[in-house]
Amino acid sequence: METVMVRGLNYRYHPGGPLVLKDISFQVAGGEMVAVTGLSGCGKSTLCFCISGAARHNRDGVMSGDVLLNGKDTRELRAAELALEVGMVFQDPETQLFSPTVEDEIAFAPENLCLPTAQIRERVDHALDLLGIAALREANPYKLSGGEKHLVALAAVLALDPPVLLLDEVMSQLDRAGKKRVAAALQRLRDMGKAVIAVEHNLEAVSFADRLLVMEKGTLLCDEPTASFLADRVFLNTRGLL
């Protein structure tokens, strides 16, 4: 069974508004990583919102088609129950950090899962180490740089340890070392059997993904193995993706 199954997904932000996602279908298996790319405004973030279930907070939004996570229909899960299936790092790190220290921020998810203290500590330490931000442990997330905020937001989701991970342009503001660490972390998560979906503008940063999905104006233009795709520079060029 595929871990993430998207079937005929359509989405508009308002009834009668433009279709932001048009008939999108694809699947991601556990232990697989796909990268999603496309020009600004093509609907990448909207796709993430739909898969993570965050889209249903928009009461005006109209969604049709199916999103199944581990075979469960996202429409039948409570908002908080969805958190057990999927973790998402939002594009804007500003509105997902609220704790007084980085450590508290990362502990938030495992605390919600009612884990015993020792396990919470373990997850916090592990997430901090994995992303190389142990030095920020006592820092105030609000006062970090953009890239650091992204790393903390990612660490906070990693501590949730969901089977599906959605990352919306987490690497865009990172320096080379940061990108490398995130890439290594994602590869490790993939090896652990997680399904990873990473939205990224910079294709070099996610060249290790198994497949690449290209979106254009709300449609899924293609879904191909990354290697063959990156070789086709003519295609990438004509689509303005290089």
Binding site: G53, H57, A83, T95, F98, P100, A107, A109, V124
Partner: protein, 241 residues
């Protein structure tokens, strides 16, 4: 001195309670002295009180003048004809009102001497539902952000060459309400996104949650929580009778 946040909450409650009961500037000054001494013992930067009170300076002055003028008693210091303007009693009442605001603010600063995480832990360990504790925490957390945004908007207006000091009051109110709208809208949007993010990390997935840390009362905390309320009640009874 290190104290449990719950002990500090009790302190703040007692001190502001007393401030509301006392009227005389002498009592209030004593109360202020106690509060400041406590703040200093928690290594609190006193200048922060000033910056909190600054926006209320004109309000305090206004209250002072009102009290001065409208509660005349005692010796008349300044009069227009037979109408007493400044009296010793009026001055004392005015000073009392202003001091009361200062004491309550200073007492509230006791709550700023521990981290907001400890605030949540304190409330939760006192059996306050964690949803409620987080709600209060988030509100307190984003109040300064909200204020900063308001300042930003006002600055943006001034940068466009509008001198707010020269705008007449009627127009100013209309303008502020128009400026306020985007700020409130922005804050609501931010709050909604934050709620989505919290929920997507499992907030409220179970009726209970665990915590990385735990607060533990020590002997001093018990003493503070015993002594402060007892003295406060005694003083209030004395004052009222």
């Amino acid at each position: 001195m290190k104290l449990d946040p719950r002990a500090k909450m009790v302190m703040a409650l007692c001190l502001s309670g007393l401030a509301l009961v006392y009227n005389s500037p002498l009592h209030l000054l004593l109360l202020l002295a106690v509060t400041v001494a406590l703040l200093l013992s928690f290594r609190f930067e006193l200048s922060a009180i000033g910056s909190y009170l600054k926006p209320f300076l004109s309000l305090m002055l206004f209250l002072f003048l009102i009290q001065c003028l409208f509660s005349p008693s005692g010796r008349v210091l300044l009069a227009v004809g037979t109408l007493p303007l400044v009296t010793t009693g009026g001055l004392l009442t005015g000073a009392g009102v202003v001091l009361r605001i200062v004491v309550v603010t200073a007492a509230a600063m006791l709550l700023a001497t521990f981290s907001s995480r400890d605030f949540i832990l304190g409330l939760v360990q006192w059996k306050v539902p964690y949803e409620l504790a987080f709600m209060v925490f988030i509100a307190l957390r984003f109040l300064p952000v909200f204020r900063d945004e308001l300042v930003n908007v006002v600055t943006a207006v001034q940068l466009r060459g509008v001198d707010l000091k020269k705008v007449p009051w009627g127009q100013k109110i209309a303008m502020y309400s128009r400026l306020l709208f985007p700020v409130i809208y922005g804050a609501m949007l931010k709050a909604q996104r934050l709620a989505v993010s919290m929920e997507s990390r499992g907030f409220r997935v179970y009726p209970r949650r665990t915590y990385l840390r735990r607060l533990n009362f020590r002997f001093v905390d018990y003493m503070v929580m015993l002594v402060f309320p007892v003295i406060t009640i005694m003083l209030i009874v004395l004052q009222v009778s």
